[in-house]
Each structure stands twice: as structure tokens, then as C-alpha cells.
Subunit: 429 residues, 2 copies
């Protein structure tokens, strides 16, 4: 028996680090194959990250977008979950070191996803807020609500405005969706809660370095979402770069915005781990992998999803860091493991782009499906359906649908609870 | 303007400390009266404490049993909420000191409820766990789940057993309900999650100093609940007193039980605040109040609910510390405020006992309604109906009902999420 109490059997052991979209799909598809599967994760649940912004804005609770890993794999033979953080790979010995001890592997799959990238902006890293996991989203929710409690106590107009101003950096789907949700709170929810505050003093700024919102999407989607955001009262600043943040003012290359809260949704990097020198050749913490997701020259070490960069003709810098890529790579790698077990040839990975979408506010979205581009209410219905179906588990689907239906008819179904006060703390580690 | 930014008007100001069952009822009933009402609470939500044990055992999420205070009082005129902790009363000056500054009052209502009472047992206070508010319930949930994660790593049988043993002290409704919920987890949920653990090694002990479970209830209820608990596999130790706990073993006057987790549900005391010398005459941190809930000789300082002890012929030591007493005292005090405003005579408070009940496991309960005493499934239906109806808000009722219906048909709808790791921390302050 090893430190992690995993039985040593005749089966080859695949160790998967991370139960995100990629790791989850891989482990599921390995269910009936002749491998022992060991899944490690820092959390005991899988997180549906696309809806984190709804947790941050009190529209959904954590249990709606999280699902216990042990329950997902209930009854799966030769499967072991351990609540653990990977620390270092010792490739020559085939050993992974974790915070609960070392573990020997036959195959190692790094599916650690991505982490917030501040691009060297120290002030932003210290005073800005990331939103990459549930504790961070809940922390952000507490801060937003505490800001208004503080504003209600403030005698100074400038203090009050600063507390009521929110700057979101990065107009990708996360930034756009968060800005829309905050705008709905401003218009329909908060004025009832804080009758003594004047909500004309509240501003939501969305800053983007590129020349349009939703840069990876079509021009149609980009223009539509800008229109929706503007209608909701969000102030959009494209072609604008953040230079610094001191917790009070956001300094950009164009203007300075007073704001107690800066939410950083402008960049991620691969969450690579120690011990593999081949990492980072693509930059941004991603492992350079071949078409079988093998890392560098290692035959038995793989990386999938955000932490992997596979050069393909359409994607010379690696695939976009999206849930869909991770899921398809996880599923594909499972097939290759099956092929290897049967001494067959593995297949090259090929990404099938299923389209992208983003929601803006309560009942609008923009959708790019190949050449089909649409938005508005129809887009929102598609967005809602796709996200609902992607959630793990019947109860989560039921609870989220109930929440969304209730919210559609009344804005005021949001539960604005400060369960734990805001803490300036790094929840990623 | 004062430090709390409450406007000074011609209306008399009533300051209510605490939005529990008593404070909530009082403030609601004051809605149309000619007073300014200022509500202070350490949390921004009202907690439905009777269901805390379901949050601790992952059956419900916080948003199901909590409700934002600002939303409860949405639109109520002359009402102000402040997220604040009361620190000290300066009665001669009619000033309440809080962590956000001092506030002048015309009337002060102390509705601070109760806090865990360890009766001087230092080891228990240091190593045992209370369950009086949502952060504590969530912390307990994390610990329970982390214990099993640790047990799965343990090579030693004795370590494993200790991690899988749970000692609950106090067989009042909270202790009984918690023991029942843990027993259901043991039988129906955890063995699926931890196939490598042997659940015959898991024990749930319920310790009670009195000679029966549910001491305040009828003998019928007591015997029935003992039967249900035994059927669920809970080991009940009546007539047994806890002497010490060191985090590893629970020492009682009869035997020693190895357990990493001791949950203390054996006692509470009034959460009195500094500055009033008349407090504590009844012992246990409760303010001695007259039949109008006035504290000592103060005409304009009141205490209601758990923190108040009003001597009545049937209750020489004060009323029981129950939600119903607090609610009735809150409603009654609102009526008396109306009388005072109209220069009428106030009425004496008289408690109407609506009965007591406790649930044991998934579908059984015991109910005492005057001379009517019943249990089993019928009792559970009554318990469920009464608790559902007592929840604040339509969405909470809907979500809790959905959860309970799903749980009735499948035990496995519980979301066993460790959102924040267990911390040894006092969440009451």
C-alpha cells in the first residue's frame, strides 16, 4: 500500500490531476477499460465554471453549479478519488508528489486547467479580484454586498461612489456576463435593498484591450452584445489597457476610474505544475503537447484542456482555452488509451468547434454556430438550454431551471447572503 | 446625522438588536406604527435555526434556510437596517455602542438570542463543535466530509474508527435531529462515496445527562424517538455526563468514546451584551424582565426571546428558550408599543404553547400538541408542513420542498460539497 492508500493491482494506473471538464470526461470514458484510474483534485467537487458569475452575483448558490466528484463516479470499478493537491512530477521515477504523499503512476494526465494571469500587473494582483473558482466567486459576492453596506454608512459622496463603482477588466464571455448581471442588480434589485442610496451614483465599467467586446466571437455577436450592454447601462471601454490599480483608482492608458472593486477577467494561464521542463514553450504556462496530448518527449505523461497547447493548422498557438476543447480532448484521450491497451494505433486529436455564445443580462444572448449568428431572446433560450444540459446531475438541472424561471418573472429571487465576510486571500492554493 | 447614517426625525427611535425570530416579528409588526425602527444584526440575513442540522449534514444549502433582512423589510417605511455588532449599552445616556459607531435610542430591544454554553468544560469548548449559525453548520459539514477523506488515507484501524465516530452531546431536538441525519448518511449515502471504507466501523453516539431523550417533551415522544434512533443505529447514552474531551477521546462519567468529532448541542446561554448590571439574575446570561419585557428597572430597554427570562407561574425559571416564545414576545411587544404611542395601558405577556416536535431521520417525527401525542410518518408530515410554512419567502419554501421530495425518493440528492475547508475558528463573534 502507498501513502494514498491506493491498492497496487495488475492494472496499469492512470493518475488524472484535476476534475475539470477535461479530467471528468476522460475518467468517465475510462470506466469500462482495463486501467486503474486515480483522480486527484483540490476540491471534492466538479465546478461548472461558465456559471460562476451567477454565484458571484447571488443568482445561484454553489450547490447548483458544483457536483461531488465521488458521487459522479459512484459505483465505477477501479476508480479512486483523493482530495489532494499535486506538487511535483518526478518523470524519471514515474512518481507524482502530492500534499498527502507520493504516488507511482503508469500514465499521468495533467488536467489542471488554468489560473488567473495578471500579466505582471502587481497592483491588480494585490487589489483586484479573480473569479476562477467557487470560493473566489463567494468572496466576490460578499465584497459586492459589503460595499453597499459601507456605502449606506458613508457621509462622503466620493467614498460612496467609489464603493458603488465596479470595474470589470476583460470583455470575454465572463466579463460580459458579469457586467450584465451587475447591471441587472443595479436596475432591479439593489435600489429596493438600499432605499437611502442614490443608484445614479453606481457605475459598471467594462474594460477591454482589444477593439471590440467578445473578441473571439463574430462581429455580429460583438456588435449585438455591445448594444445589449449599453442598453443595460454598462459603460464599455474598448481599446483600453489597465496600467495599475491601488484599490481606490483604476489607472488605464486613457482615463482613471475611481472604484473600490476591480474584477479581473482579462486573462488566464495554464496551471502547470513543477517538474516538467518542457512546459511553457507556448508561453502562458501551457504544456506543448503532440496530437495525442503527450507532453514533450514523455510517452506516458499527457496534458489536456487549458493547460495543454497543441499546435494545429487552424490553431498555430494552440486551441482556445475553452470547456469544449478540454471535454473533447478528454474523450479523445480515453479512446487512445483503449487503442493502446489493444495495441492499436492512437488517433490524432481534431477539434470540432460546436460554436460559442455569451449571455447579456436576464434574457438576451449572442450565439455563433458556424455561419449561423443570432442573438436576443432566441439566443438566450439556446444559451439557457445548452448550459442547463451541460450541468452534471438531475437535481442541479432542476434547481437551476427553477431559479432561472423564478428570476425571469421576478428579479428579486436572488439570495443576497453574506455567509462569510470578504477576505483578501488567495483561494486558488 | 449620526455615525450609522440614520436620519434624526420627530419619530421615536426603536433600536432592535438581532433579527432572529423575536426581532423579526417585532420589526414586522411595527411596520405601520409611528416609530422609526433601526434593526442591527451581525449577519445580513435571518436564519431559520431549526433546520441548521440539515445544512451541517449537506441536506440543504444556506440559501434555503436564510433570508436577506433587507429583502424582508423591502418598502417598509421608517425602517433602517445596519450590518453591525452591538458592543455596549450606556443606559443613562440612551446610547448603544456598536462596531460601526454609537447610536442614540429612545427604546432599545435586545433580541440577541442565545449562544453555546459549555458549562465550563474547557476541553469541549476548545475541541468540540457548536452549531448555532450557518458558518458553524458549514464548518461542521466540511469537517464531517474531511474526516472520511482522511479515513480513506489511514492505514491504522484505530485512527480510521476515530475519524468515523461522531459524538453528539445533548438529546434535545437539535441533537436528536442531527443524530438521525448522520445515521441516514451512514446507511444510505457514505458507503457509496467511500467504497474502500467499512461502515460497520462508523458509530453515532448521542449522549444525554438526563434520563431520557428529548427531556422537555412527553414520555410518549421520548420513548418513540428513542425507538426510532435505535432503529437507525444511533447509540444513545442517557444519564451520562461528559467530563472532558481532548479532540481524540470523549470522557464521560460512564465510559470513554474514541471520536475525532464531538458536536455540542447540550446547552445554550443568553447572548447578553455589556453595560446592563441587571442581567443574569436568572443565570445563564438571560436578562430578568417583567411582564412587558422591560429589563430590570429600565422603562425603555427591553429583552425578548432567548436572552430574556420572564418569570411566570408555569415558568418560574423563565420561558423555555424556543422560537415560539421569541416570536410571541416580539409580536406582543409590538402591540404594547402601539398602546404606549396611544397612551393606553400595555398588556401582560402570556405564552401560548403551540406544541413541540422533533424529526428523527428521513420520514419519522414525534409531536406533542397539548394532550395529543403522536409520531411516525404522520408526525413527520406535520413536522414538515409546520417547518415549511415557517420559512420566510416563497422561493425558500419551494426549494426546501423540492429538496425534501427528492430526498424522500432518493437519499442521494445531498450535495456533499466542501466549499471551505474546516477551520477551528469561532464564528459567533
Amino acid at each position: 500500500m502507498n501513502a494514498l492508500n491506493i491498492p497496487d493491482t495488475n492494472l496499469k494506473r492512470i493518475v488524472i490531476i484535476g476534475c475539470g471538464f477535461g479530467g471528468l470526461q476522460l475518467a468517465k470514458k475510462l470506466a469500462k477499460q482495463a486501467y486503474q484510474v486515480v483522480m486527484l483534485d483540490k476540491h471534492n467537487y466538479h465546478t461548472f465554471q461558465p456559471l460562476l458569475y451567477q454565484v458571484a452575483t447571488a443568482g445561484l448558490e454553489p450547490d447548483s453549479i458544483a457536483y461531488p466528484i465521488r458521487r459522479i463516479f459512484k459505483g465505477q470499478k477501479n476508480f479512486y478519488f483523493r482530495l489532494a493537491a499535486a506538487q511535483k512530477v518526478e518523470a524519471p521515477q514515474n512518481v507524482l508528489h502530492t500534499n498527502i504523499g507520493p504516488l507511482q503512476y503508469d500514465y499521468l494526465v495533467i488536467a489542471t486547467g488554468s489560473t488567473t494571469n495578471y500579466f505582471g500587473l502587481k497592483g491588480v494582483a494585490q487589489k483586484g479580484l479573480p473569479m476562477k473558482n467557487i470560493p473566489e466567486a463567494l468572496n466576490l459576492r460578499s465584497l459586492i454586498l459589503e460595499n453597499f453596506e459601507k456605502a449606506a454608512l458613508s457621509h462622503e459622496l466620493s467614498d460612496r461612489q467609489r464603493l458603488m463603482n465596479f470595474v470589470i477588466v476583460g470583455a470575454g464571455p465572463t466579463g460580459v456576463e458579469l457586467a450584465g448581471a451587475l447591471a441587472e442588480l443595479k436596475t432591479h434589485v439593489l435600489p429596493n435593498d438600499y432605499p437611502d442610496l442614490d443608484f445614479r451614483q453606481m457605475s459598471i465599467h467594462l474594460i477591454e484591450a482589444m477593439d471590440k467586446v467578445l473578441p473571439p466571437m463574430s462581429d455580429t455577436a460583438s456588435k449585438k452584445s455591445l448594444k445589449y450592454l449599453t442598453q443595460l447601462g454598462v459603460q464599455v471601454w474598448t481599446d483600453t489597457k489597465v496600467a495599475n490599480y491601488d484599490g481606490k483608482d483604476v489607472y488605464t492608458d486613457k482615463k482613471t476610474l475611481p472604484a473600490s472593486t476591480l474584477i479581473w477577467a482579462a486573462g488566464v494561464k495554464g496551471a502547470s505544475i513543477e517538474g516538467l521542463n518542457e512546459q511553457g514553450e507556448m508561453g502562458g504556462g501551457r504544456y506543448l503537447v503532440n496530437e495525442f496530448n503527450q507532453v514533450g518527449s514523455h510517452q506516458n505523461i499527457f496534458a489536456i484542456g487549458d493547460v495543454a497547447a497543441m499546435q494545429a493548422s487552424e490553431y498555430p498557438k494552440g486551441h482556445p482555452m475553452l470547456a469544449q476543447v478540454a471535454m473533447q480532448q478528454g474523450q479523445h484521450l480515453a479512446k487512445n488509451f483503449k487503442a493502446w491497451a489493444q495495441n492499436k494505433k492512437p488517433q490524432n486529436f481534431k477539434y470540432k468547434d460546436p460554436g460559442t455564445m455569451a449571455t447579456v443580462g436576464r434574457n438576451k444572448a449572442v450565439v455563433d454556430l458556424g455561419t449561423l449568428r443570432f442573438g436576443g431572446f432566441a439566443g438566450w433560450l439556446v444559451w439557457m438550454f445548452v448550459h442547463l444540459m451541460s450541468l452534471v446531475g438531475f437535481k442541479n438541472k432542476a434547481v437551476v431551471l427553477t431559479n432561472w424561471v423564478l428570476s425571469y418573472f421576478s428579479y428579486d429571487k436572488k439570495m443576497r447572503l453574506i455567509i462569510r465576510p470578504f477576505q483578501r486571500q488567495n483561494f486558488s492554493d
